[in-house]
């Protein structure tokens, strides 16, 4: 029996409605030529969005902050529950066997949180231990996995369910800024879940162990990536400084080296990389700073292409594709990297 927590099941879910980049550009009125170019970047082909039906003019209606929050909750419950059920199925775990639920979201604030609202939807027990990780951004999937892994390690045999669910389309605003065009052309909706257990039982005996985490915060770039209140809009709005991808790339070797050093590993011993699909620039920046190949980031790029940046859920989509590929062998080591506001880089070491 091994005490290290294992990822014994993974599930993902997307909203039913799928849009090409051109369709989204048309549905968002008021894009000037410069901003429309962001929607032609071929690294994203389509995104799935939990949005109301388009109007007769083919446009997405402008929504109030209240409507956006309601849409976030509605979408989060729908695709969040679907991803959670898929992960539980994958692990062969009935809903009433879940002891701990961690829900991660940034794209809508709500109290009571998603953990409480999903409890009856999923049929979870009333003595459920819960943690809502809210507002931490794209990196937060790994912060959630920390909570789940530490819970599982502290309670051998207990089952922790991690759910990352983001309705990024409820964070779109309408203005002529470059930052808004980047956000509206990049972020998609999606949910992903993982079942974590520290005794290795269940269907997936061949499951990656979570060996450890390293975090790296760059407070000098605190203002460079924000999702905060915009008085002019009367809405929450996402701001992204253009240098963020470069800052992340320059800093990413720090936590990766610390993580590998801690376990006496060299980078050439890392067989798989699970990198957050943050966007073309930041993926390039990480690639060239760590010396990764296109093959190393193949799933990162394919998730970006088909779903856009689904924020905290992205890395589990990438992990899911790696698992489905069935190339990992016993002993293989993987490094997961997520990055987000703070500026924060979160890393985790997995081993099969």
């Amino acid at each position: 029996m091994n005490a290290a927590p294992r990822l014994v099941g993974v599930g993902t879910a997307l909203p039913r409605k799928r849009f090409t980049q051109a369709e989204i550009a048309e549905a968002l009125p008021g894009l000037d030529r410069r901003n429309a170019a962001f929607f032609r970047d071929r690294h994203i082909a389509s995104r799935h969005l939990h949005v109301p039906d388009l109007g007769v003019d083919g446009r997405l209606r402008d929504e109030t902050q209240g409507e956006l929050l309601a849409r976030h909750l509605d979408g989060a419950l729908e695709i969040g529950a679907a991803a959670a059920r898929e992960a539980l199925d994958d692990a062969g775990c009935p809903a009433d066997a879940v002891d701990h639920l961690a829900c991660v979201t940034t794209t809508g604030f709500l109290t009571p949180g998603l953990t409480a609202r999903l409890l009856p939807v999923l049929g979870l027990r009333r003595d459920l231990h819960r943690h809502d990780v809210v507002g931490m951004g794209c990196n937060a999937g790994l912060n959630g996995l920390q909570v789940g892994s530490w819970y599982a390690a502290a309670h051998p045999g207990a089952t922790s369910l991690l759910l990352c669910v983001e309705i990024c389309s409820a964070a779109y605003v309408r203005d002529a800024s470059v930052s808004t065009a980047v956000v509206n052309s990049l972020f998609g909706d999606g949910a992903a879940a993982a079942v974590v257990r520290a005794d290795g039982r269940g269907a997936a005996a061949f499951a990656p162990r979570v060996l450890g985490f390293e975090s790296h915060v760059v407070p000098e770039a605190l203002q460079a990536m924000r999702y905060d209140w915009d008085d002019g809009q009367g809405k929450f709005s996402f701001f992204l400084d253009r240098d963020v991808p470069l800052v992340v790339g320059a800093e990413v070797p720090v936590p990766v080296a610390r993580l590998l050093d801690r376990f006496g590993l060299r980078q050439r011993q890392v067989a798989h990389w699970i990198v957050h699909s943050g966007g073309r620039k930041v993926i390039d920046s990480i690639k060239y700073n760590l010396g990764l190949t296109d093959h190393d980031v193949r799933h990162t790029l394919s998730v970006l292409k088909e779903c856009g940046n689904v924020s905290s859920a992205s890395f589990l989509f990438t992990l899911g594709r790696l698992l489905a590929e069935r190339v990992a062998r016993r002993g293989d080591v993987a490094v997961a990297i997520t990055m987000g506001p703070g500026v924060t880089i979160e890393t985790a070491l997995l081993q099969w």
């Binding site: 991808p245 470069l246 390039d284 060239y288 700073n289």
Partner: protein, 250 residues
């Protein structure tokens, strides 16, 4: 410092490391040599003290190529070839500048290794060929690399005919940077080592990688890759030193 093994010897003297292929007659390539190369590359990657790696062969031969003796026993499988490709790719990506110094024949895998190095020098008598297709198999990723050097037409001729190419023709095609008289290989090595210094590891590795990708990437992507690399390069000490020098401060 010297690291000795049966078929690949590494010697590091100050800023220059020398990897010498040896072992079997004709310095032929076999699984043990690939293992030895892997260990030498571990050493070079883990402790990149040298600025330049010179790759050469012992006894007036670079290498005669693959040793079929190791296939005699059983069914050939593709994994040994995969291990060879990994070794060649690691040479191509080393955190130091690399020089292939060829005297005598560089056949098959030998020619493949030459194509992985940053600079390539050879004596007048050195010869190069990819005989694999005539022998019924493939010259590794030379099929991928060679056309970038000499164009598709010449690459096709060399790969399909196994033609033995002399040093002067290889120099005309831009594959050899310098041809030196027989017996004067050290002059060629000295020229290459001097030409590559001072070695700025980060800029060298990034430039090498961007050049390598230039045939396969769109201009739009290429600019993105360049900027990601440039941001890294200009944050490094060698560029900051260049800036200080330009300002006239020490």
């Amino acid at each position: 410092m010297t690291q000795r093994s049966e078929s690949a010897t590494l010697e590091v003297r100050r800023r220059v490391a020398t990897l010498t292929l040896g072992g079997r007659p004709g310095n032929r390539i076999h699984p043990g040599l690939i293992d030895d190369l892997g260990r030498v590359l571990d050493r070079l990657e883990d402790a990149p003290d040298a600025e330049v790696l010179v790759v050469r062969g012992a006894g007036g031969v670079f290498t005669e190529g693959i040793d079929f003796a190791d296939f005699a026993g059983g069914n050939p499988d593709v994994h040994g070839f995969h291990r060879w490709e990994r070794v060649v790719t690691r040479v191509e990506r080393l955190p130091m500048a690399t020089v292939a110094a060829v005297d005598g024949p560089a056949m098959g895998g030998g020619f493949q290794l030459v194509l992985a190095c940053d600079l390539r020098v050879g004596t007048a008598r050195s010869t190069f060929a990819l005989p694999e297709v005539k022998q019924g198999f493939l010259p590794g990723m030379a099929t991928f690399r060679l056309a970038k050097w000499v164009g598709l037409g010449v690459a096709r001729r060399w790969v399909l005919t196994g033609e033995v190419v002399g040093a002067s023709e290889l120099a005309e095609r831009g594959v050899l940077d310098r041809v030196v008289p027989d017996g004067a290989l050290e002059d060629g090595v000295a020229w290459a080592v001097a030409a590559l210094g001072p070695v700025n590891r980060v800029a060298l590795q990034l430039a090498r990688r961007l050049l390598d990708e230039s045939f396969a990437v769109s201009l739009e992507d290429g600019v993105g890759h360049l900027l990601a690399c440039q941001a890294r390069a200009i944050a490094q000490e060698p560029f900051l030193r260049t800036l200080r020098k330009a300002k006239g401060s020490p």
